[in-house]
């Protein structure tokens, strides 16, 4: 292996700190102008007059420069390998952006009458039915704004179902010890309490599941929230038995769909017994993460839960026209304003339509192939507790490594990940779902060359830990900044510029 050069052309210190907009203010300058007022003026009464006068402004060229400089300080899927486990940082096709920006989509007011927005409603209806088919479930709601919002909405739906069936004491939700933090947080927002179910080797511990159910009493449980494949990157082969155990006591099986990229066209959650699930369109269906949103978290549910879905619901009438049903008698009500993250769903529609059924299947196959290829090439230097291809133990679309061998030489997990930044690789998810682990998800859109380059980087870092450990300990050495003092930031928070 040849020694890699780190990627950044400039070494740190060459790039000056970008001043804040508040430090660039030029009195009287403005980035855009307005036409003159074309009507007579009406006096503003003193009792209401006021207004903010402290937002800075400056000329348009410098506005462009400011954000161009800031954009130069970001890793992105476009420019970097971004193997963030459980986040599915796949390529974001630009046809999706093109479509969402069409004036016939972008300029629609959410309270317009249905007859003026038939094209938009058709798109929503088709998205709804495509997501129903992919889930293998009866009905999808496109309302939730993000995955966590989908969890919240689905838990409300399940709660409403039980309330309607006189089972109001079902107030406990079970979640795996490897669950996303949003799972228990969403439970709290629904007034449910959470009980943790153990996992063993990345799979649900069936005996513990039964034990917890027996201890709490099956009649007090509303749902078991499971992520499958799990956050350890493993498909839970006991999933049907888990569904049976949960259903036996009358509870519902909830699938956290964060890892749907491993299942597309291969397994439908409804077919293994899921009663409700959420999607993350910004993971599975290529809508951009945007530095933290917008996402979209459609939920899919069984027929018995469907009456409780939020309003409005997009429907097709007998004559083939589309409308919004706002009057579902048993609905949990509204969970956000208007009719969902429409612009995000345009992108989702475009992605699913681009892939088609065979393409979606190829997405999950390639995502799983890429992950296993990386795991196979790295497992010698980066031990993986669940990966053992000689014995038929593979990963799904992501894998977990616990590099104890490297940590024992005197580096921390953070050292390793910060050194990756020097090589232009975004650090993987870390310390979750296990302590001292890295969780790597390459996604299906990476080329073999990109995968091989990543392997080279990881092997070189392992070598450096043996030969030049301080390089790793002091990293990042060539990023825009040295390590940020996050402890000081939290101790004395400065959340606004004074």
């Amino acid at each position: 292996m040849t020694t890699l050069k780190t990627m950044k052309k400039q070494s740190r210190g060459d790039k000056p700190t970008e001043p804040l907009v508040f430090e660039k203010h030029v009195a009287g300058a403005i980035g855009v102008d307005f036409p003159p007022l074309d009507v007579s003026e009406t006096k503003v009464p003193e009792e209401v007059a006021g207004g903010c006068t402290t937002l800075p402004s400056f000329g348009q060229h410098d506005v462009m420069a400011h954000y161009t400089h800031l954009s130069d300080r970001n890793f992105s899927v476009d420019g970097n390998f971004y193997p963030l486990g459980s986040c599915t940082m796949k390529h974001n096709p630009r046809i999706n952006e093109w479509g969402a920006a069409l004036p016939g989509f972008a300029c629609l007011h959410p309270l317009q009458d249905e007859e003026e927005i038939q094209g938009a409603l058709r798109l929503l209806y088709e998205t709804r039915t495509m997501l129903e088919e992919i889930a293998g479930l009866h009905e999808v709601s496109l309302q939730p704004a993000a995955g966590a919002h989908g969890e919240f909405t689905a838990l409300k739906v399940i709660r409403a179902y039980f309330a309607d069936h006189g089972q109001t004491n079902r107030t406990v939700v079970l979640a795996a010890d490897t669950a996303h933090g949003t799972n228990p947080a969403s439970c709290t927002m629904c007034g449910a309490s959470v009980e943790t179910v153990r996992t063993v080797n990345g799979q649900t511990d069936l005996s513990h599941l039964k034990e917890v159910i027996a201890r709490i009493g099956g009649g007090n449980i509303s749902a078991f929230m499971i992520t499958n494949p799990s956050t350890a990157g493993l498909f839970d082969s006991n999933i049907q038995e888990i569904a049976d155990i949960v259903h036996e006591v009358g509870a519902k099986l909830y699938l956290d769909g964060a890892n749907m990229n491993a299942l597309l066209g291969r397994v439908r959650p409804g077919d293994f017994g899921a009663d409700a699930m959420h999607y993350n369109t910004h993971k599975t269906f290529s809508t951009p993460h945007g530095g933290g949103g917008p996402g979209s978290g459609p939920i899919a549910v069984t027929e018995e839960l469907a009456p409780y879905l939020p309003v409005p619901q997009v429907m097709m009438a007998d004559d083939g026209s589309f409308y919004l049903d706002r009057e579902r008698e048993k609905s949990i009500g509204k969970v956000r304003s208007f009719i969902g993250q429409f612009g995000v769903l345009v992108r989702c529609w475009a992605y699913i339509s681009a892939c088609g059924p065979n393409g979606l299947r190829n997405v999950s196959e390639t995502a799983v192939l890429n992950a296993n290829y990386l795991a196979a090439r790295l497992c010698e230097k980066y031990p993986m507790p669940f990966f053992d291809p000689k014995n038929g133990k593979f990963c799904a679309h992501e894998f977990v490594t616990v590099p104890q061998n490297l940590l024992d030489k005197g580096v921390t997990l953070i050292d390793i990940t910060k050194r990756m930044i020097d090589y232009g690789v975004h650090p993987p998810t870390m310390h979750w779902p296990m302590h001292d682990c890295l969780m790597v998800e390459p996604t299906e859109t990476e080329s073999k060359q990109a995968l091989d380059s990543f392997v080279d980087v990881m092997l070189q870092i392992a070598d450096e830990i043996s030969s030049e450990i301080e390089l790793v300990q002091q990293s990042p050495l060539e990023s825009d900044i040295a390590r940020a003092d996050e402890v000081a930031a939290a101790r004395k928070p400065i959340l606004a510029f004074k």
Binding site: L37, L102, S337, N372
Partner: protein, 451 residues
């Protein structure tokens, strides 16, 4: 196209490296009975050219603010925004990055969000703001939870003049966590401080008042929050319009402790209702109970000024069931658009937009009330939106205007507005984009339909 990049020989090579013959072996762990062998029942794949045609075709079946003058508001406004926003926001470095957990690889997003937080704090006249929530409605709900979590009290007073969808979402969110909603009755379209006083008690965590409210009327935040504060620690929660902050009293100057809003007017397209962004600002005392992402200023090991996500122990990925909210992915890109908008316009530009909207709305209102039988529904001051009572069936008015190529406003009656009214009120919004010519044309149509 599924956007994968491997050719057949690369796949074979990779399978050999793993030590298997076929990809199916990787899926053997999935029990045979639940495998989807028949394939998904979806339309066949479309090429990019076909996608362009299909998307353009669907878009062509829609009519909206791009081909009709739009006088619709009620929480979503057809405001101007500079062309540079669409250009800058399309930069892949912003568009395709993740939530900036890794400070050393995300200074661009982090600095932009820090600037956003500061801009929102200044716009509202409060101390701090978070890095966005989903939308205005969910921001109201988070504000109510912030107030109840801080005080441990179990009731919120809510102006009945708030956007009915915000009230509906608040009901959904609070329904299973034992927090009661008391609606404050309106007098002539606004909430009287005396009504707040009448409903105050030491069980009340917060008083939520939107201004301008759903009818467009400016509420007396000062008076309402003064009554709220007679019970110590009660939060005055203002639901504001960010453009109005360019010329009207800000929430902070009226005694608000928490301010929330729909942020769409700040540089975001109408998008049929989303993606938008929720704004949440507050006094400093709420810092450690805030929902959502917060970006803080700190130093790196070399002493440089840098930015990072902070106070993450409030958040779901650290705190689980005890988190202040379940929010994870928020509306980062929309917040960045809003920040670019505020940077390009500054206070002066936002004031100009607000002032033009004010004058145009008042011009239009004056012209409409000159018509036989048309009158303003309420008597109080308004900003860029007002309500008129039509002398005939409001549905007829709306349909007639639309058939003549104008979106005249939002009818207050009907399920879409959650049963706000059963009368013939029409809520009309006027942004800086509307011209005298468009307004005069609307007046002529109203005259014709009611003649």
């Amino acid at each position: 196209m599924d956007y994968t990049q491997l050719n057949t020989s690369q796949r074979q090579e990779m399978l050999a490296t793993i030590g298997i013959q076929s990809i199916d072996e990787l899926f053997n762990v999935i029990p045979a009975e639940i495998r989807c062998e028949k394939g998904l029942d979806l339309m066949p794949a479309l090429s990019e050219l076909e996608l362009q045609r299909a998307l353009a075709e669907m878009a062509s079946h829609n009519h909206g603010a791009h081909d009709m003058p739009c006088f619709m508001g009620c929480g979503a406004y057809d405001h101007f925004y500079p062309a540079l926003i669409d250009q800058l926001i399309s930069r892949g470095e912003f568009l395709t990055s993740y939530t900036p957990y890794q400070a050393e690889a995300s200074q661009g997003s982090l600095q932009a969000f820090f600037e956003f937080q500061t801009q929102i704090a200044r716009l509202t006249g409060l101390d701090i703001a978070n890095a966005s929530l989903y939308d205005g409605a969910t921001a109201v709900a988070e504000a109510a939870l912030l107030a109840t979590n801080t005080t441990r009290r179990k009731e919120v007073l809510v102006a009945s003049t708030m956007h009915p969808e915000y009230i509906a979402v608040l009901r959904t969110v609070l329904s299973d966590v034992n927090i009661a909603i008391t609606l404050l009755e309106a007098t002539d379209g606004t909430i009287s401080p005396a009504t707040v006083a009448l409903n105050m008690s030491d069980a009340v965590a917060g008083v939520i008042v939107q201004s301008p409210n759903i009818w467009g009327q400016i509420e007396d935040w000062d008076g309402c929050f003064a009554e709220a504060h007679k019970v110590p620690k009660t939060a005055g929660i203002s639901v504001f319009n960010p453009i109005a902050c360019g010329m009207l009293k800000t929430p902070g100057s009226c005694g608000a402790d928490i301010a929330v809003a729909e942020g769409q007017p700040l540089g975001n397209a109408l998008n049929l209702g989303g993606p938008y962004l929720g704004l949440l600002a507050a006094k400093e005392s709420y810092t450690r109970k805030m929902p959502g992402r917060l970006v803080g200023m700190t130093k790196d090991e070399d002493g440089r000024r840098v930015f990072c996500l902070t106070l993450q122990t409030r958040e779901q990925h650290i705190r689980g069931a005890k988190a202040t909210s379940n929010v994870c992915t928020n509306q980062g890109l929309m917040a960045m658009r809003a920040s670019m908008f505020m940077t390009t316009l500054g206070s002066d530009g936002i004031k100009e937009m607000a002032t033009q909207s004010w004058h145009k709305a008042h011009y239009l209102a004056n012209e409409i009330v000159k018509l036989e039988g048309w009158k303003l529904t309420h008597g109080g001051p308004f900003f860029n939106e007002f309500t008129v009572t039509c002398p005939c069936d409001v549905t007829k008015v709306v349909d007639f205007c639309k058939s003549n190529g104008v979106l005249p406003g939002v009818a207050a009656a009907g399920r879409r507005m959650q049963g706000l009214s059963s009368g013939n009120e029409l809520i009309i919004a006027v942004t800086e984009k509307r011209t005298k010519h468009e307004m005069d044309a609307l007046v002529a149509l109203l005259q014709e339909v009611s003649a």
